[in-house]
Symmetry: C2
Subunit: 559 residues, 2 copies
C-alpha cells in the first residue's frame, strides 16, 4: 500500500491564489472592482496583479519576505492580496487607524522589506519610518497614488512633490513596468506563510498572526459555503480589508467573480446610496456598522434585500431588529484574527421564523455552530478541560481546532505554544456557554467577566439590557472594585444625538433592576459622548476598566 | 520560525464526516431522506449512522479494512457513506449492474471483510460469493431488508427464508443494536483512505480507485461552490450513489442539510412525478438521464426550475435544448472516478444568454474550466509535454493536478505511477482541445480517435452530427479498418420508438456529407435497436469496435 500516498499530482499546495486566473477566464469581461468613477474587469485585475508581482520580483523581493500595505479599501489594497503572495512574499496588511509609533513597531517586528502606502496615509507612514531604530534597515516605499478623478484634486500636489525623495516608485508605475505574463511563484508547501496580520485585540498587545496558503484556501472556501454566496454577487467593502484580510473575502470574491465596490471611507448615507447605485447584494461589518445603518434618521428601506454578515461582538437585539426592518438580511458569526475568518456562525433554522421578533433577535445574537471546515469547537471547563454541560448557563473556555487556524505568532514560540497546546485545542481566550441545541454563545472575553460576590456576571448580558433602553447609542460594562462584593458592574453609556433630555443614572439603574437579577445591575453608570474604541471599532474595555478603577471602590451596600 | 508549523490544533485531518454531526445540530428536525412512504430527519440519520458504525466495530471491523455495499439509491446506501468510514473502515460501493463474476473479482481484489446487500440484489451477491476462490475468506454479509411498506410485499418471503443461513444479520437489526452515542473513529491522517471505487471505464478493465479523507473533503466542498448549491436544497438521487459516491454529493448534501429523495429505480415519468411531489430543486445524471427526460412523449413543463448537473459524456445539442425547454437548468462538467467528482465545469457566462439556442448548446457541450480546487488543468502535446495552442482544434492529452485526486489504484503501483508520473500531472486518458477563451473541450477517449488518412477524426464530433438527424435516439461512431484510408468512421445508430419508417444508411451518410468535412463522414452505418452500454450507462465503444472490425475492411474509395 506504500504507493497510496501524496504525490505531485494529488497534493499540489492548496492556495487561494489560483482563484484569480480562473476569474479572468470565466469572468474576464465582467466588472471586478468599482472605485469612484473607475472600474476594472477581472481580466484587468488579473493582469495588474501579475504586473505588480513581476515588479516586486524585479525589486528584489524574495520568497518568504514580508511586504506591508497601509491603505484604505482601494483597488490596490484588493489587488495586493493576490499580487504580494504571487511573488512569493508574505502580505502584511496594516491597520490604517494605528498611530505612527505602533506602525513602526510592526514594521520592525515583521522585518518588512517594502511598504505600499496610500497617498492619504503617506504622512502617517513617513512618521512611522522616522521612528524606526536607526540601525533598522528602512523598507522601500511605493506610493499608491490617486488614479480616480473624483478623489484626485486635493492630493495631486503632494504626490509629485515628495515622490523624488521618499518613494521608490508609484503603484501605477510599477504596474506599467510589470509583466502581465509573469509566471507567478507558487508556494513551496501549502504550509508556507501567505499573510502576517497583527491583531488589535482588546485584551493584549499586538501579535503577529501568520496564516498559511492552506489555511487561507480552506477559510475562503468555507466562508463562501457558510454564507451561501452565489456567483457574481455585488460586494460592498465596508469591512476593512486589513481586518483579517476582509475575513478572507478578498480571495473569496475572486472565487465567485464578484463585483467589489471599494469605498475609501463611508458613513450611513454613503452606504445606502452605494447600495442603490450598484445593486449591492452582500456586505460585512462589525456591529458598529449595523449601528450606523440603523441609527440613520430617515432611512429609505432597501429596494431589494442585502445580505450583511456581522461579527466581532454580539449585535444587541435592538440594533439587529432595526437593521432587519430596513431590508437587510443579517447573519452573525464569530472568528478571530487567529482563525482568519468566521469559524462559528449562527446557522438560521427555518422554524425560528415563526418566533416573535425579540426571540428571533436573541437567537441570532448567539454566535452559533462551527462551520464545515471547523473540525471541532467546544466550551470546556478551564480546570478539568472537560466539556461544560449544554445548559446555556455554565460558562467555560471556548476552544477549537480546524484547518483554517494560524501557523502561530511570528517570533513568539511561547505565545504560540500557550494558545495551541498539547491537548490539540486552540484557546480563543473567550468564554461562553453551550446551549442545549448545540449553539455556542460568547459570554465575554476572559478579562471582561465581572465577579461580584462570587457570581460571574457577563458584561455582554448587562450591555444587551442597557442597549434596549430608549435612546441608548452605545453601552459597555466593566468591573469596578467594590468594598463589599469585590467587583460590581460599572456601565458606560452614550446616547444618540437626537436624545435631548438624557435620563439620569438612577433611571438606567432602575430600568435594569426591573429586568435583570439584582446582582447583575450596574451600581455605577457613567455617561459619555462617545465610548473609546480600538482601531477596528471595538470598544476599548481596558480604557473603561482604568476609568472605573480610578473611580475608587464603590461603597458597601447589600442589594 | 520553526514554531510556525502544523500542530494538532491547526492540522486536524480534513474529512467530510464531520458534516453529519453539524447537520444534526442545525437541521436536526428537518427531513434528510425521503424513500417511498418513509422519511428520516437529520437527527435520525445522524443516530442511525453512528449506530451502524458502532455495530460494525462490534462485528470486529477494524481501521483500514474494506466494507462493501451493493445497493440501489436507498437510505442505507446513503447512510453507509458516513457509517462505514465512521468506524474507520473503507467504503467500497459496488456497481449494481455488474455480473456475479465481476463482483466476485472485486470482492476478492478489495479483500472485503463485510458486504451490505440490498434485498433485491441478494441473489446476485450470493452468486458472486459462490464464485470466490475456495481459499478466499468469505466476507460477512448484512442484508438490507425492505423497511418501506410501499416496496415491501414482493420480497418479504425471500428475506425470512434466507436470513438464517447466509446472513450475519439485517441492517435494521444492526441499527437497533448500535450505540447512537458511539465516539466515531477519526482518520489517523487526512491521507487515510475513505473509499475504494472500482472504475467501469470504457477503455480498460476495472481498477480500484482509492480516495483519501482529504480528497473527499476538498471535492465535496468544491462541488457545492461550483454548482452554487444553496442551503437545504431538495436533491433527487437519479445519479447512482455507487458512481464516484454520487460525485461526492452524498457527503455534500449533509453539508447543506438537503432533503435526499431516494429512488430505487426510475424512468422519465417517475422523475417528473417525483419532482412535482417533493419540489425537487437539484439532480445529477449522465446525458442518458437528460435523454430520458427529453424523449418523454407529452412532458408537462416544470412548475419551478430544476438544476440538473450532467457529466460523463458531452450532451448532444439536441438533447440539451429539449431538456432546457422543459424547465431544467442544465450545467455540464467533467470528472473521472479518479478525481472523485467534477473538476472541470462549463461555468456559464451571462453574455452567452444572448446567443441563439444552437450556439448556446454548442458552448454548453464544452467541458469548461477547472473548478476552484483544481490547481491546474491543461491539454498537452503527448510527445513534447507542452501545452497545445488555445485554438480549439489542436488535439492533446488532458492532464490535471489537484487536491481531490485519488491516492492511487489499489494493489497497482505500476498503474498508479503510469498515470501520476514524475512530471506532476495526472493523465486522464482523454484527449481534447483548449479553446481560445480557456475552455476545455473533450474530443475523445484516447482510444476513440479515428485516424483516417492521417487525419484525426473525433468520433464525438461525428456523433453530434448524427444526433441532429431527425428521430435518432443514440449514436456512436468507431473506427472501421479501411483498405485505403487505414480507418474510416463507422456509425452505430438507434432510432426512437415512434420512428415508423427509419431512414436508410444512404440517408444518414448524405445527411452527414452535407454538414461535415468529407473525411469525417461515416462510410458505414449500422442500425441497432439499442446500443450496448456499460453498467453506468456509457455506450460500450469497445463492443462496437469489435463489431466494426468483424465487418472487415471497408473497400477503397477516394472521397
Amino acid at each position: 500500500m506504500d504507493h497510496l500516498k501524496p504525490r505531485a499530482a494529488n497534493s499540489p499546495p492548496l492556495t487561494p491564489l489560483g482563484y484569480l486566473e480562473r476569474a479572468a477566464t470565466v469572468y474576464g469581461g465582467c466588472t471586478s472592482i468599482v472605485y469612484g468613477n473607475t472600474t476594472y474587469t477581472w481580466a484587468d485585475t488579473h493582469d495588474r496583479c501579475l504586473q505588480i508581482a513581476s515588479s516586486l520580483s524585479s525589486c528584489g523581493i524574495k520568497r518568504g519576505q514580508v511586504v506591508s500595505v497601509l491603505a484604505p479599501n482601494s483597488p490596490a489594497a484588493y489587488e495586493l492580496h493576490f499580487a504580494v503572495p504571487m511573488c512569493g512574499a508574505i502580505l502584511n496588511n496594516i491597520n490604517t487607524r494605528l498611530d505612527p509609533r505602533t506602525i513602526s513597531i510592526l514594521l520592525c517586528h515583521g522585518e518588512s522589506k517594502l511598504v505600499f502606502v496610500d497617498h492619504e496615509l503617506s504622512n502617517l507612514l513617513l512618521e512611522a519610518l522616522n521612528l524606526l531604530p536607526p540601525t533598522h534597515p528602512r523598507p522601500q516605499v511605493v506610493l499608491i497614488e490617486e488614479t480616480d478623478q473624483s478623489f484626485r484634486s486635493n492630493t495631486d500636489g503632494i504626490q509629485s512633490q515628495v515622490l523624488s525623495s521618499q518613494y521608490l516608485t508609484t503603484y501605477e508605475e510599477m504596474i506599467k513596468k510589470g509583466d502581465p505574463k509573469f509566471n507567478w511563484i507558487r508556494p513551496e508547501s501549502e504550509w508556507s506563510p501567505i499573510v502576517l496580520n497583527y491583531t488589535s485585540g482588546t485584551t493584549s498587545s499586538p501579535k503577529g498572526v501568520v496564516h498559511s496558503h492552506r489555511g487561507a484556501f480552506i477559510m475562503s472556501m468555507d466562508a463562501l459555503i457558510d454564507w451561501s454566496v452565489p456567483k457574481q454577487p455585488v460586494y460592498l467593502w465596508t469591512l476593512p480589508m486589513f481586518h483579517a484580510n476582509g475575513w478572507s473575502f478578498t480571495w473569496g470574491m475572486a472565487a465567485v467573480g464578484a463585483t467589489n465596490i471599494c469605498l475609501r471611507k463611508f458613513d450611513g448615507p454613503t452606504v445606502f446610496d452605494t447600495i442603490q447605485a450598484h445593486n449591492v447584494t452582500h456586505m460585512c461589518g462589525a456591529p458598529v456598522v449595523l449601528n450606523m445603518l440603523s441609527n440613520l434618521p430617515n432611512p429609505t428601506p432597501l429596494s431589494s434585500p442585502v445580505h450583511i454578515l456581522t461579527a466581532g461582538a454580539p449585535p444587541p437585539a435592538a440594533i439587529l431588529l432595526r437593521t432587519e426592518s430596513l431590508g437587510f438580511i443579517v447573519s452573525h458569526g464569530y472568528g478571530l484574527t487567529e482563525t482568519g475568518g468566521l469559524i462559528v456562525s449562527c446557522a438560521w433554522k427555518p422554524k425560528w421564523n415563526k418566533f416573535p421578533a425579540s426571540e428571533r433577535a436573541k437567537l441570532k445574537a448567539r454566535q452559533g455552530i462551527r462551520t464545515l471546515s471547523a473540525s471541532e469547537v467546544d466550551v470546556i471547563d478551564s480546570e478539568t478541560g472537560k466539556s461544560v454541560p449544554k445548559d446555556g448557563h455554565t460558562v467555560g473556555d471556548i476552544v477549537l481546532r480546524g484547518g483554517f487556524l494560524m501557523l502561530g505568532y511570528l517570533k513568539d514560540p511561547e505565545g504560540t505554544s500557550k494558545c495551541m497546546g498539547d491537548d490539540g485545542w486552540f484557546r480563543t481566550g473567550d468564554v461562553g456557554v453551550m446551549h442545549l441545541d448545540g449553539y455556542l454563545e460568547i459570554k465575554d472575553r476572559s478579562k471582561d467577566i465581572i465577579i461580584s460576590g462570587g457570581e460571574n456576571i457577563s458584561s455582554v448580558e448587562v450591555e444587551s439590557m442597557i442597549y434596549s433602553f430608549p435612546g441608548v447609542n452605545e453601552a459597555a460594562v466593566v468591573a469596578r472594585p467594590d468594598e463589599y462584593w469585590g467587583e460590581t458592574p460599572c456601565a458606560f453609556v452614550s446616547f444618540k444625538d437626537e436624545v435631548k433630555n438624557p435620563p439620569s443614572e438612577r433611571d438606567v439603574i432602575e430600568y435594569c433592576r426591573a429586568k435583570l437579577p439584582h446582582y447583575m445591575v450596574p451600581k455605577t453608570v457613567v455617561f459619555k459622548k462617545e465610548l473609546p474604541k480600538t482601531s477596528t471599532g471595538k470598544i476599548q474595555k481596558f480604557v473603561l476598566r482604568d476609568i472605573a478603577k480610578a473611580l475608587g471602590p464603590s461603597k458597601a451596600s447589600r442589594l
